[in-house]
């Protein structure tokens, strides 16, 4: 595919039809179109309403605990012997990941729209927990669709969601992972379209979801800029974040896209390697297609059938990617690289031992890339990595992978 001309700004998308270059759009059943158009209007109105922003800021501060710290990882920096490493600590948020940022924004939208019921899909369970949390906080009934495979490998999060009052529906279609959960959530939405709000967990899906999820997650990048200015008096040299659907990454990246001197790296799940089907590196090894309401890079066969994908991290286990990332790849603004399961596992253990932080497997992928790059950079250079989730939920998975019987 031809590389598009470099635009004056990388931050103007999407256009009015929800496109980032050729990516994005609204590829949904007619039943959902009126709802998607209604959501678009509701979001426009909310953006123009200072009270909406004020309520969200208040919740971010008092409910989530924002701003999350920007932490200088002194021992990791010493250990790697190159660039200074900072972690944006969104794993300290209420519910343990960046997912809450988006859920609070969307639940306020659902409230404004007068919806009565929340549905969500979840892979690792982090978004499911965050959805169940905000639904409880605002008094909505909540149904979470979760692939059967994920229900089994993320049982602590399943129990958390139940405690929070959500109904969990295990999805048996396909391989029972995130994409199947998303299909089932869409089927629920098509059926209960009048009173139901679909709280999508990542910066993907039909317009306006990629835009609004990005906007709610951009608090990560905006805080980072301010905090690093305070700590170092300048912008970072490099940003690194894991990409599954891509919401934590776009949240960190977006405010910096027009800072030409900031190098930006997205880290995909390389799973067991890119040669077979056992990975989720849609940008590195996929090609453009249309799924779940948007055009984006997908893992697919010669006939356009979508692969299930594989990653040790349930949160990265998705064969697609948010459309804005596809655009950022094609324009060359962001570099996307794969990290294998075993590399992520090593980084996971390294962070535990060196910094006393148990990370989720998703940011462990980002960390593995930092481990590769930091030593090659100067000691006066700065990397900011999004530590987007904590690892409590992954302790069993990691234990199993390392041969511990828990």
């Amino acid at each position: 595919m031809n590389k598009p001309a470099t635009p004056n700004s990388f931050r103007t998308g999407p256009d009015e039809n929800g496109h980032f270059g050729i990516f994005g759009g609204r590829y949904v059943a007619e039943t959902l179109m009126p709802n998607i158009l209604e959501l678009e209007q509701a979001y426009k109105d909310a953006k123009a309403d200072p009270e909406f922003a004020a309520e969200l800021a208040h919740l971010n501060k008092h409910y989530t605990g924002r701003p999350s710290p920007l932490y200088f990882a002194e021992r990791m920096t010493e250990h790697l012997g190159g660039a200074k490493i900072y972690f944006k600590r969104d794993e300290l948020n209420h519910t343990g990941s960046h997912k809450i940022n988006n859920c609070l924004g969307q639940i306020l939208l659902a409230k404004r729209m007068g919806k009565k019921r929340i549905i969500a899909e979840t892979g690792a369970g982090q978004h499911g927990v965050a959805s169940a949390t905000v639904a409880a906080r605002f008094g909505f009934p909540c149904v979470v669709y979760m692939g059967k495979t994920d229900v089994e490998r993320q049982s602590p999060n399943v129990f958390r969601m139940k405690l929070l009052g959500a109904d969990i529906v295990p999805v048996t279609a396909g391989a029972g992972t995130l994409k199947d959960a998303m299909n089932e959530a869409l089927r629920d939405w098509v059926t209960n379209v009048e009173d139901t709000y679909y709280l999508i967990g990542t910066a993907a899906g039909p317009h306006p979801y990629p835009e609004l999820v990005r906007d709610f997650q951009s608090v990560i990048g905006n805080e980072t800029r301010e905090q690093l200015m305070e700590a170092e008096g300048r912008a970072p040299d490099m940003l690194v974040a894991a990409v599954g659907g891509g919401s934590n990454a776009i949240g960190l990246f977006h405010p910096f896209l027009d800072d030409k001197d900031v190098q930006i790296v997205g880290v995909e799940a390389g799973g067991l390697g890119l040669k077979g089907k056992e990975h989720c590196a849609s940008l590195t090894a996929g090609r453009p297609g249309v799924l779940h309401g948007n055009r984006t890079y997908l893992l697919q066969d010669d006939d356009g059938q979508i692969f299930e994908g594989h990653s040790i991290s349930a949160g990265l286990d998705y064969p697609g990617i948010g459309p804005e990332h596809s655009y950022l790849k094609e324009t060359g603004r962001v570099e996307y690289v794969p990290i294998m399961d075993n590399e992520a596992l090593e980084a996971f253990q390294l962070l535990c031992r060196i910094e006393g932080i148990i990370p989720a497997l998703e940011p462990s992928h980002a960390l593995a890339e930092v481990v590769k790059r930091a030593p090659k950079m100067g000691k006066d250079q700065i990397i900011v990595m999004n530590l987007c989730g904590r690892g409590d939920k992954d302790v069993f998975t990691v234990g199993k992978a390392l041969g511990f019987n828990l």
């Binding site: 759009g25 609204r26 098509v190 059926t191 249309v290 697919q300 010669d302 356009g304 979508i306």
Partner: protein, 276 residues
Amino acid sequence: MKKTRIDTRFAELKEKGRPALVTFVMAGDPDYQTSLDIISGLPAAGADLIEVGMPFSDPMADGPAIQKAGQRALANGQTLKKTLKLVGEFRKVDKTTPIVLMGYYNPIYNMGVEVFIKKAKSVGVDGLIIVDLPPEADDELCLPAMEADISFIRLTTPTTDDKRLPTVLNNTSGFVYYVSITGITGAAAPDPKKVAASVAHIKAKTDLPVAVGFGVRTAEQAEAIGRGADGVVVGSAIVSVLEASLNKKGEATAKTVKNVLKLVKELAKGVAKAGS
């Protein structure tokens, strides 16, 4: 657009004064040859139009019956190329029954829209129903298809309000497919009175025939719904009868083709009564 087999068929049935029976079969379910045998037998069993499903790994708007049909077909190696070949083989023996391909956009996008339309035209496809291509995406496939005289049939739903209806009807050709419930294929039965009122509402805005689908399972329902519409679409019920006829390994048996065609004959009687 030139007149297609779809336009001709609806005009004939209007003369006869009865609604069309539109039947849905998934291409390659449970295997290529069985689905070809079924489709070849449909016109004689009383199907007036045939919708051929193009299997997709992620059928977001389909219920369990059609999801499983697609999975069986894919597991047996069905592809978009083979689906087009299937239509071509059917056309050798039937020159008049309209064929409408129904499915999702990605396999077509993946093949390339131009290549797909050329092949579809050459094998004798008359229309397309692409679930995830709303009017906002007409540039993608709808307009190129119409240019090649292939109808682009749009779904309207109970959520399509008066503000939205003109957008949906614009660039729709062949017929309008009224989805009688909000939901996925094969869900609850529709209320014939409400459906008739909705159909009349749509017909006030378009000269195209209006066919009704989603939730029609029996001859009685086909008759009741058919009284208020130009066509009745039956999908999940046919696919479920097919599924029930398979052996434990999911393979076709001697009953498969027979049972499906038997159901279609019954549905045809219901539709015939709707015209009496």
